[in-house]
Amino acid sequence: MAQVVPAQTEAAEVRRAAEGDHAAFERLYRTHIDRIYSLALRMTGEDLAEDLTQEVFIRAWGKLGSFRGDARFGTWLHRLAVNHILSRRASVRKREARNVFSAEVLERVIAPRRRASAEALDLETALATLPARAKEVFVLYDVEGFGHEEIADMTGVTVGTSKSQLHRARMLLREQLT
């Protein structure tokens, strides 16, 4: 669970980390790792989430000097993470294509359980089964709170496409969860 760190304390930690203080960076890392890992997990899946999380913090360490403090460190880090994860989409998709078989196996396992039990499927599990683009938009809009214009800008699609992918994702999740 992320700790709530006062902005001034965090700004001082960022300055120390930017000057090469590993302990300060580790404290920043401990504060924010769960949020970044959860974002990577939901956008890409368990196979890649830990590697992407590590890459995000390595990039953050390398870019600390460019952090000007206009926004909270967490906001800067989160945006850096989204951009990095989106930039790795091609390799993520290749991995997903290889995992089609396992998704089919998962569905065969889940479907009888769904029929046998009145319990709804867990949202995290259902999210993992969404098509990549729909999942991306759903996570960015409904979980992370970005607007359609920001999502369009980050992902290189139109606002209309972002809206239609969001609706597609919600409809697919609704089918699985109800």
Binding site: D34, S38, L41, E50, L123, D142, V143, R174
Partner: protein, 70 residues
């Protein structure tokens, strides 16, 4: 299933998010007043959004910290 129903069924997320133009929002609201099927889907979509907003952060199984900042 008529074309008006299909049109508004595709707009339910926009209705929920308040991103329709005001005249479209009113027209969609009028359709919802008459269409039990769309009202049910709208409530289910609302539940999906509420579930997404209630998700909490998760921790990685192993600590990916090794090799960072060293």
């Amino acid at each position: 299933m008529n074309s008006q129903h299909e049109r508004w069924a595709e707009c339910l997320s926009d209705f929920l998010d308040g991103t329709l133009e005001s005249h479209e929002h009113e027209a969609c609201e009028a359709h919802l007043a008459e269409c039990g099927s769309c009202r049910r889907v709208l409530e289910e979509l609302r539940a999906v959004v509420a579930s997404a907003q209630a998700l909490t952060d998760r921790s990685p199984a192993r600590d990916p910290a090794k090799g960072i900042g060293r």
